[in-house]
């Protein structure tokens, strides 16, 4: 089975980590992997994207437009940059975080309305799974890692579960950060159990 995954967000959110975890999971199963993260120049707060292709031996690093089975978007405005890469019938997970650029905070530039972003995603023909940042649970008084939570939600709502066992992903996540293994296990499971704000286009 081939799987194309497109990831967008801003630097510092842990969007690349999702790609790394899924790359490790694919390697464990001895599946061919091509993972192409691109950070641009900003160390923190700049646009970040990554493309992950699993199951094909020789691939071009850039996923064809309308070719991503799963899109992970961790920032509302940046999600728009992934819309043309979503496959009709695929899954588009949007974690509706807002990382407003300075000019937006100062009222000098506009920021797209969430409804508008949702509309654009739906036009792509992909199933939208909307995760509100307010729905993220706490573990021992601290908000869980949103990227791990989102990965759990993807396990439940996308074809990711056709390729991977949730137990395997859970184990990779726990082994990656030994000190946070309990909270990440909790985050991943909570993501799996989460009832999204909206599932549209099914």
């Amino acid at each position: 089975m081939n799987l194309n995954i497109y990831l967008v967000g801003v630097g510092g959110q842990g969007i690349l980590t999702i790609g790394e975890i899924l790359s490790s999971a694919a390697m464990e199963k001895d599946l061919p992997v091509f993972f192409y993260p691109s950070k641009g120049m900003a160390q923190r707060g700049g646009f970040v994207k990554a493309q992950l292709q699993i199951g094909k031996k020789n691939v071009g690093p850039n996923i064809i437009e309308k070719g991503s089975d799963i899109v992970f978007a961790m920032e509302t405005s940046e999600a728009l940059k992934a819309v043309r890469f979503a496959k009709p019938g695929g899954t588009f997970l949007l974690l509706a975080n807002f990382w407003a650029p300075t000019d937006v905070i100062l009222g000098k530039a506009s920021y797209p309305e969430l409804d508008k972003v949702i509309g654009e995603i739906q036009k792509s023909g992909a199933k939208l799974v909307l995760i509100s940042d307010k729905d993220l649970p706490e573990y021992e008084g601290k908000k869980v890692a949103d990227n791990i939570f989102m990965l759990g939600a993807a396990m439940k709502h996308s074809v990711l579960n056709k390729l991977f066992d949730s137990a395997d992903i859970d184990r990779i996540v726990q082994n990656r950060w030994k000190r946070a293994s309990a909270s990440n296990h909790f985050a991943f499971q909570a993501g799996m159990d989460y009832q999204p704000q909206l599932i549209a286009g099914e």
């Binding site: 801003v10 390697m27 993260p37 020789n58 043309r84 650029p101 905070i105 995603i121």
Partner: protein, 624 residues
């Protein structure tokens, strides 16, 4: 053993499998990962270093190769410009030890700088250039490049582009080869190793041309370039090089839906773009009615196709850049192959298969690149802006010449401080030029520490000698930061893993004879502003060293020691005027409902918001 590695790491492993004695280079996205990965390995018999600049690295590498040993030298495409004076000269001389120059180009400019095609440089100096199409091939072709270099007795380029340089694939890692312990050669031969005299140079030029022809024969014997002729004659011949080869199959799969006849498709996939394989290209031209050339940036291969077509009396269509089908700007993907197939075979593929619909992303908020929270450069830009105001000058009348690296980020809001950028070290010469052109207001230049070592020092010496009226601000964050934290000569010794000698900019500048020299802390805004304003009023060369460690590195060091300070919002004083954000643009400042709040995960306690607030609503406190 299988591992998930980048193309940059693949270059490193390929070189280790060739038993390199030395690896050197200068950091530059997207090439940085090759030397960076070697520096993390335990290699007792291989010397690995970040050199001061690409030319220094290349000269050093030439010495290794002339002494008969294997050497890898790495750089981004802009680095080739810096090293090229030496590259072409060494190419003329040839070498005895295997000499591989790894260059990473960036079609589509993921990281800034000119979108140049380094193949042009290889052409100009008749050097072979290998272009792996995958990360796996980046290993094997790098190892082979050393053999090729020794066989032709000349240096060889290996070229990747960004997606392969920074992309990861799961590949088998080869065993490193033992490093040769043979005695260094000392060949005293002025006919080979000098350029003094027409006979010497022209003989070397002839030898160079022969070496490239010989490389072409060896590459053909090795079967590096793969020609798959279709079952039927008279169809379409596709020529592609490097990573572009990988998009062909995916495009053909799409084209299948529109009735493509696969038996009439022939493909020549190049792994050595220079020299172009004349024999295989001729075969393709003779076999096919139409030729489609897929190469990013410049139409180098395509031009050779035209020449061969003319020589062979070929009358068919050639689809590429020269006929206007493709652009010389940007990177290629599957859609480019589809456009070519559609045009060549009149397939009636609908536009929706290859035309980008960008309506969604056009709605996205602009996100200009800026400095990190806690970045010391923020303090320097703010102090420059304050100094201009203090002298009652207008910002549009005071030119601040910029340079490469993180220091250029001051070009963007909210600072809008830096005006321009050419190349490593260029800000100083630019400033001198503006002064000579008769600019009446003070002329400033900014430069980073690594950039100063790389290319700034000769320019500063020139400005000093000619007593130019300029203010140079060296923004020293003690790291080569933008490329991902490499060390440079100014990085303090206790921050190194290996023993090096520290070279202190604070000692270099006065030693050059600069009379007006100050050192400032960019986080001490009042002092920094006063010094810059004073410097702007004095004649001659003024140099200000603005020194504070990169916030990311300082945080990594500091988080081990524990947080000592905290910035607190005094809620009764804050009226949410957002002055702090509009001056500092710091991402740690988050407007709350009634007052400003500070994101503790982002705040680095630089105190810039504290210095800006005119209502005493921000205070820096010791952690109890």
């Amino acid at each position: 053993m299988k591992k998930l590695i980048t193309g940059n790491e693949a270059i490193a492993y390929g070189a280790l499998a060739a038993g390199i004695k030395v690896a050197c280079g200068y950091p530059g996205t997207p090439s940085t990962g090759a030397i960076a990965s070697l520096l993390t390995m335990d290699l007792p018999n291989t010397h690995v270093e970040w050199s001061t600049n690409e030319k220094v690295a290349f000269d050093l590498a030439s010495g290794v190769a002339w002494a008969g040993h294997r050497v890898l030298c790495t750089m981004k495409m802009s680095g080739v410009n810096v090293a090229y004076d030496s590259i072409i000269s060494t190419a003329y001389s040839g070498c005895d030890g295997g000499f591989v120059i790894y260059v990473a180009d960036d079609p589509g400019t993921n990281a800034g700088m000119c979108e140049q095609d380094s193949r042009g440089f290889a052409l100009m100096s008749d050097m072979p250039m290998l272009e792996p199409a995958s990360i796996e091939e980046a290993i094997s072709l790098t190892t082979y490049a050393f053999e090729l270099s020794e066989a032709i007795k000349g240096p060889v380029f290996v070229r990747l582009t960004t997606p392969l340089a920074n992309g990861f694939a799961s590949v088998e890692i080869p065993e490193p080869a033992p490093v040769s312990q043979a005695d260094a050669l000392l060949i005293h031969d002025i006919n080979r190793f000098t350029k003094a005299g027409a006979v010497i140079c022209m003989t070397q030029h002839r030898d160079l041309i022969k070496r490239l022809a010989h490389a072409g024969e060896l590459i053909e014997q090795k079967g590096l370039n793969r020609l798959d002729l279709g079952k039927k004659k008279g169809g379409l011949g596709i020529v592609a090089s490097g990573v572009t080869v990988q998009y062909i199959e995916e495009a053909l799969a799409v084209a299948d839906k529109y009735g493509i006849d696969r038996e009439k498709i022939s493909v020549l996939g190049l792994r050595a773009s220079i020299p172009t394989p004349k024999q295989q290209l001729s075969q393709l031209i003779d076999f096919c009615d139409k030729i489609l050339v897929l190469e990013e940036l410049e139409p180098h291969i395509e031009r050779d196709v035209y020449i061969l077509a003319r020589k062979r009396g070929y009358a068919g269509q050639i689809i590429g850049k020269i006929d206007g089908t493709f652009d010389r700007v940007g990177e290629y993907g599957t859609k480019h192959v589809l456009i070519g197939l559609n045009k060549a075979l009149s397939l009636n593929i609908p536009e929706s298969e290859y035309k980008s619909d960008t309506t969604a992303e056009e709605l996205a908020a602009a996100r200009p690149i800026t400095v990190c929270s806690g970045c010391p450069h923020r303090g320097t830009y703010m102090a420059i802006n304050r100094a201009i105001r203090k002298l009652k000058l207008k910002k549009q009348d005071v030119i601040v010449n910029g340079d490469i690296g993180c220091t250029i980020l001051g070009m963007n809001p909210p600072f809008n401080t830096v005006w321009n950028e050419i190349s490593m070290g260029a800000s100083i010469g630019l400033a001198q030029g503006f002064a000579y052109a008769g600019v009446k207001t003070p002329v400033l230049a900014t430069i980073g520490d690594s950039t100063f070592f790389h290319g700034g020092i000769p320019s500063l010496i020139n400005a000093i000698q000619h007593e130019a009226n300029i203010v140079l601000i060296i923004m020293d964050n003690e790291w080569t930061a933008m490329t991902g934290m490499q060390i440079n000569p100014g990085t303090p010794c206790d921050r190194h893993e290996k023993p090096y000698k520290h070279v202190d900019i604070a000692r270099i500048v006065p030693a050059l004879g600069v009379e007006h020299f100050w050192q400032i802390n960019p986080f001490d805004q009042d002092h920094a502003t006063d010094v810059i304003a004073e410097a702007m009023q004095l004649p001659g060369v003024k140099v200000i060293l603005s020194r504070q460690e990169c916030a990311i590195q300082a945080f990594r060091k500091g988080s081990k020691e524990g947080k000592k300070k905290i910035v607190r919002v005094v809620e009764e004083n804050c009226n949410l005027c957002k002055l702090c954000i509009s001056v500092t643009g710091c991402s740690a400042l988050v407007p709350g409902e009634k007052v400003m709040t500070i994101d503790p995960a982002l705040c680095r306690q630089c105190g810039m918001c504290v210095s800006v607030c005119n209502r005493n609503a921000m205070v820096m406190e010791d952690v109890k």
